[in-house]
Symmetry: C2
Subunit: 132 residues, 2 copies
């Protein structure tokens, strides 16, 4: 028996992240796959800060997002496209937000992997004018 | 006979861009698919400027890249992942650079489409230390 763990490849990280996102297990994905010094980027004009650093801040963003959601109706996540230490997926979420009604959110999500952990994520979408 | 042209969807732009990139026709992709106010983003530490704006500047970047290449040995471009007005592809290029030898470049490329044209592109890769 050994406690040695092999460093995950970009493809292994991507496939695991996709599996967890398809279950809606975003917090688990962060716990399991993200590095302590994760950097998270949102587009200008989104509700979230344009740049966050550190595992706790990024987890907190997920908690805040979850708090806005009244009901999840479905999520569609593509298979990843992979280039060495980067990969991208598309994600479409169908949610009802508290006080805002049901909407569909679509984004391309890009990730960088280093030493088997996600160290950088960027969400690419066009914020709705009402979010500005 | 009519000169009216239909605005291309994100998927149509993505599929056409992929087809042109698979042929190595980057200049044609810019001419055919890019908007005059295109914004082009490279990662910190790459050889190219981190942000360029305007069709002529972005075309010039392609010309400068081509001038560094002695021989193209192959290119692999993924199918696109698409989320509303954004899409991403992975691209792996096998080139010999003048005075630098043969190398493989891998990147995730993200694009935003507006009114049937690419208005924003971002290349995601980790520059080699020698590029810093």
């Amino acid at each position: 028996m050994t406690t040695e763990t092999k460093t995950m490849t970009t493809k292994q990280v991507a496939d695991r992240l996709v599996a967890l996102c398809r279950e809606g297990s975003f917090a688990s994905a962060i716990d399991e796959l993200y590095a302590p010094d994760i950097v998270s980027i949102e587009p200008p004009g989104s509700n979230a800060p344009e740049r966050l650093e550190g595992l706790e801040n990024v987890k907190q963003k997920t908690v805040q997002f979850d708090a806005m959601v009244e009901a999840h109706h479905g999520i569609t996540v593509s298979d990843p496209v992979i280039a060495e230490d980067h990969f991208a997926i598309s994600m479409v979420m169908d949610c009802t937000f508290k006080g805002m009604g049901r909407t569909t959110m679509s984004e391309v999500c890009v990730y960088r992997v280093k030493d088997g952990k996600v160290v950088w994520e960027q969400f690419c979408f066009s914020p709705m004018p009402s979010q500005n």
